[in-house]
């Protein structure tokens, strides 16, 4: 077959994107674990190795640019390069969000208990992994199926956020009732510190939910670009 070196480079680009996706999923696994358990060492490992993902991203971006400049791909080859160029940006963002997620666990334990970070995280992670697999296997049905999960996932995120806020309001009400019962003689300062800590927990939980929702959105983007690559169909790109 003519242009063997060129075809090998296209194969290597695809393999590189898939490998990057697998690395990002591994980082996401660790980030979820750190967020759930508050394992600070694991969290620091996710944060400290993010530069590796960034370097992979830049190397793959260079490869896409070079293929465009030197090989002038067309048709299916062009769509592979164009889709890969976009997909690596989404994967790099997922890795960034994984570092956020890892940091939310903190040294004092995991994310607020009202958020099931493990369940939500694993669902988001599965969407990313499935989208990368659909890209690798050139599976258009899988791309559409991944996109169809997004609304349900958004609902779960919304419910989790509401649960966190509800928990905050209930805790505040309980604190107020306790103060009223005590006549609030000497506990004002302590209550203020508790409220502040509680607000920190809540804001971190809400940020964690927001980031998980964004990870799922990036997974849908990967699936959308993969579908464009496979069928020249932009129905999922928005």
């Amino acid at each position: 077959m003519p242009r063997e070196n060129y075809r090998e480079r296209l194969d290597e680009l695809r393999d590189g994107v898939v490998a990057m996706g697998e690395t990002v999923c591994d980082r996401l696994d660790d980030a979820i674990e750190a967020a759930v358990t508050g394992d600070d060492e694991l969290a620091q490992s996710v944060i400290g190795t993010d530069h590796e993902v960034n370097e992979t991203y830049l190397a793959l971006e260079d490869e896409c640019t070079e293929l465009l400049a030197l090989q002038q791909p067309v048709a299916g080859d062009l769509r592979l390069v164009a889709a890969s160029f976009k997909i690596i940006t989404d994967l790099e963002r997922v890795a960034d969000l994984a570092t956020n997620l890892a940091a939310y666990g903190g040294p004092d334990g995991g994310v607020h208990p009202a958020v099931d970070v493990r369940a939500l995280g694993e669902a988001a992670r599965e969407m990313v992994a499935d989208a990368v697999a659909a890209y690798a296997a050139r599976d258009p049905d899988a791309c559409r199926e991944i996109a169809s999960r997004d609304d349900a996932f958004d609902d779960r995120c919304r419910q989790a956020s509401e649960a966190v806020v509800r928990d905050l309001l209930e805790a505040d009400r309980a604190r107020t009732e306790a103060c009223d019962a005590d006549g609030d003689t000497d506990g004002g300062a302590t209550d203020g510190e508790a409220l502040e800590a509680s607000l920190d927990d809540v804001s971190q939980a809400l940020l964690a939910v927001r980031d998980l929702e964004r990870i799922a959105d990036h997974a849908v983007n990967v699936a959308a670009r993969a579908l464009y690559m496979i069928e020249n169909d932009d129905e999922l790109i928005y």
Binding site: P2, V74, A75, G76, L78
Partner: protein, 278 residues
């Protein structure tokens, strides 16, 4: 161009007025050339296999395909350049100006004034720049202002500024790229409707080639341009429509150029343009 000859028709005994008809379709809306069930043979060898296609006016249409696929044969069939090849036989029709150009009453010389041609290698005559451009006008008995038409043609070929002070110098003294633009000026001087180009930049350096590419884009505002090229990136850059011929003279796919190079319908076309064969 305004000052036309007294004989614009394909038939030597009639005067064709269609090109001046104000009721004609707006620019780009009509069909300039249509092939219908076209088969071309060189002896027993079939070079074009049952091709039907409509080529839009005032657009650039590229013909691409591997060597020996019949794209140059198709191009030369449009203005009957293949008449000069004794063993060449044409079946089917090539319609231009409402007439089959292979009808018995069509004069090939008149046809070639309306459908000019630019070849792979620049082939100026060993004459002055002025005479190169004026040559076709003299042959057709042009009775207007020859110098004005020469200037107009050289401007149309983006060469005027470079040669206006040396019109009496030999055309052979120009660079390769300039010579090719001189040939384009010669082709447009008789005021054709269609310009056929057979790999017009393959003998030129990249800078000269890019000037020709820009020129082709400009020419399509006034003329229908049909170009054979081996350079697929060139076809992608400059053409509005692309026809892909594959071995045996088969027209495999013909569509908007963006469609061909982004998402061709035929797997064989995808394989060819991505370099999987050819």
């Amino acid at each position: 161009m305004s000052n036309t000859t007294s004989d614009d028709s394909l038939i030597t005994t009639e005067v064709q007025t269609e090109s001046n008809d104000e009721s004609a379709p707006p620019a780009g809306a009509g069909t300039a050339v249509a092939a219908r069930d076209l088969n071309v043979y060189y002896g027993d060898e079939q070079a074009i296999d049952d091709v039907s296609m409509e080529i839009p006016e005032k657009r650039v249409t590229a013909l691409i395909g591997p060597s020996g696929c019949g794209k140059s044969t198709f191009l030369r069939t449009i203005n009957r350049m293949n008449d000069m090849i004794e063993i060449c036989r044409v079946d089917g029709e090539v319609e231009f100006g409402g007439k089959n150009v292979y009808d018995d009453d069509v004069d090939p010389v008149a046809l070639r004034r309306k459908i000019g041609m630019v070849f792979q290698k620049p082939n100026p005559f060993p004459k002055s720049i002025r005479d190169n451009v004026a040559y076709g006008l003299k042959i057709q008995g042009f009775d207007g202002d020859v110098d004005a038409r020469v200037e107009e043609s050289l401007k149309g070929a983006a060469l005027w500024d470079e040669v206006k002070d040396q019109l009496d110098s030999s055309g052979l003294e120009l660079s390769g790229g300039q010579q090719q633009r001189l040939c384009i000026a010669r082709a447009i001087a008789p005021d054709p409707e269609v310009i056929l180009m057979d790999e017009p930049t393959s003998a030129l350096d990249p800078v000269a080639a890019s000037k020709i590419e820009d020129l082709i884009d400009d020419l399509a505002e006034e003329y229908t341009v049909i170009i054979v090229t081996h350079n697929m990136q060139q076809a992608a850059r400059i053409s509005d429509r692309t026809a892909v011929f594959l071995t045996g003279g088969e027209l495999v796919e013909y569509d908007d150029t963006a469609k061909i190079f982004e998402d061709p319908e035929e797997q064989r076309v995808e394989d060819y343009i991505t370099g999987k064969f050819g």
